[in-house]
Amino acid sequence: MTVMSLSKALNEGMRKAMEDDPKVLIMGEDVGKLGGVFRVTDGLQKDFGEDRVIDTPLAESGIIGTAIGLALRGYRPVCEIQFDGFVFPAADQIITQLAKMPMRSLGAIKLPVVVRIPCGGGIGAVEHHSESPEAYFTHTAGLRVVACSNPADAYSMIQQAIRSDDPVVFFEPKRRYWEKADIDTSTGDWWTPFDKGRVVRPGTDATLIAYGPMVKTCLEAATAAEDDGRSLEVIDLRSLNPLDQPLVMESASRTGRVVVVHEAPVNNGFGAELAARITERCFYRLEAPVLRVGGFSTPYPPSKLEEHYLPDLDRVLDAVDRAFGY
């Protein structure tokens, strides 16, 4: 067992993947000597060389476009997008090429490209450094989309993402990079498959569904709700595409009340998909409509206002109250 921060866990996960498979490459802006602006790739260039850990020119479309080419040649590129708000110059390569090429080739082509994106707010940053763009990618067929919420998952999920023959958009909750946990690096026996969700706190009265940075917030809310005599179940979705429907539906049917929480705007956010699917599958088991807590239908505000924009314990509990009001 080793205590690791979430960012270190990702680092160790990538290191392991690079040791296991010489085809694994790291590429992105400042990932080499600097080790990335969040130090997630710290030391990798030193140990694996400049041919495997590539500081690219400053162009995101170029990063993903050339990663596709490298993948066509048998490599497994792990691309770092420096911040969520800077993935958009690469949107064309991700959406029109990366997501669709395997299908166009009738399966002849596999594109094992991982696109790592530090996501979410809460770190007092300037514009474009606090976005939650997951719904753009879950809306695009052909991409697996996952989000880790804690160090152990970060460690196992990044390795599974790299091993996957599908393109994976991998969200990392940047405000949780420094959170620490004990990780068993000696075996993979404890790993949860990276396309499955997990109940991280069992409960009976209502289900909170979250992923990435909001899992911790929901766990705190569940603890606080206990004082009010409410038993909240918390699901860490982990994978947004594919969605672990059996897990979600079982919990929703059992508790009858569901609140979905994410940082991204509620309007057309991933929670809308969850709400619709849960309603379709569990309609007669629900005591209340599926409620959503998330960002407002506004651009991410300047950092002095982000505490109001981001869902917090109070906003989550407020939604829980409303769910009990039906």
Partner: protein, 363 residues
Amino acid sequence: MTADASRGAQAPPELVQLLTPEGERVEHPDYDIDLTPEEVRSLYRDLALVRRVDLEAVALQRQGELGIWASLLGQEAAQIGSGRALTDADMAFPTYREHGVAWCRDVDPLKLLGLFRGVNHGGWDPKEHNFHLYTIVIGSQTLHAVGYAMGIQRDDATAATIAYFGDGATSQGDVNEAFIWASVFNAPIVFFCQNNQWAISEPLERQTRIPLYRRASGFGFPGVRVDGNDVFACLAVTRQALKNAREGQGPTLVEAYTYRMGAHTTTDDPTRYRVASELEAWKLKDPIERVKAYLFKNEHADQAFFDSIDAEADQLGADLRRRCLAMPDPRPLDIFDHVYSEPHPLIDEERAQFAAYLEGFES
């Protein structure tokens, strides 16, 4: 597998320079400038005051009053030289580091702090200053600048635009598209690239194998490399390029060869990726010291002048600090303002809901 381009403090031969690091006036076959002692003193004042604004901002960040700050240290001459070349009718499109240009466009430095303090995302009216909002997404603004220039063309106006960007930005698709648009439409624009040798931790060789100014020829317009630490040369070269643009001769790429003397931003740690000796070499080319030396040498200014500038800088710094600390925080409901120019029902609904939610805490 890495191309090696020469880089460093050694001035390459093609560099336009009118004032040496020692403060000697030198001639250049293509560019000249005739400045009165008064004008040189005024440039010195600009340089010294923007450096002071920058230092104060760094200090404010260190004390937790700003979230982050992108320092212009070392790039004062490139920004003041090019900024003072602009006429009122010209339009500037900055990155996030153009505090010196903002100064030339009469944008209150406090407005710049607002963005870095997290009070707003911009905060000044671009039309009022002909200085666009800061752009953080690398390279985007170069296309806006070209479009604006195409508008100037269609209005038959006598004006030009100037687009600021860094060496790293030259790799972005947007910047290369901007070059193509400007070239094809002969847009009245100056592309002003401050090559400060670094894009965060990546040295220039990660972006290019040839000197950046030479890229212009491939796009079909002239490129020139100017000593970015020489305010005279930056002024002369930018003035000429803007004049050419206004007179219908289309775009120019100006590569201001300079150095980012500080960290990329206050959250960056340059010791991880560059050697201290590089900074020492560039310190000898400081953009402000050479103007001071020139003024002294030619007896265009005495100690009393420099003392008075120092006093003015102290005053400016103290005043900026005071006003920064007094800056009101935005109110929670401001989140919903200005998202659309016309009324929007969902915004109204969410604003009302959030107002009610907040009231719940008061009762």
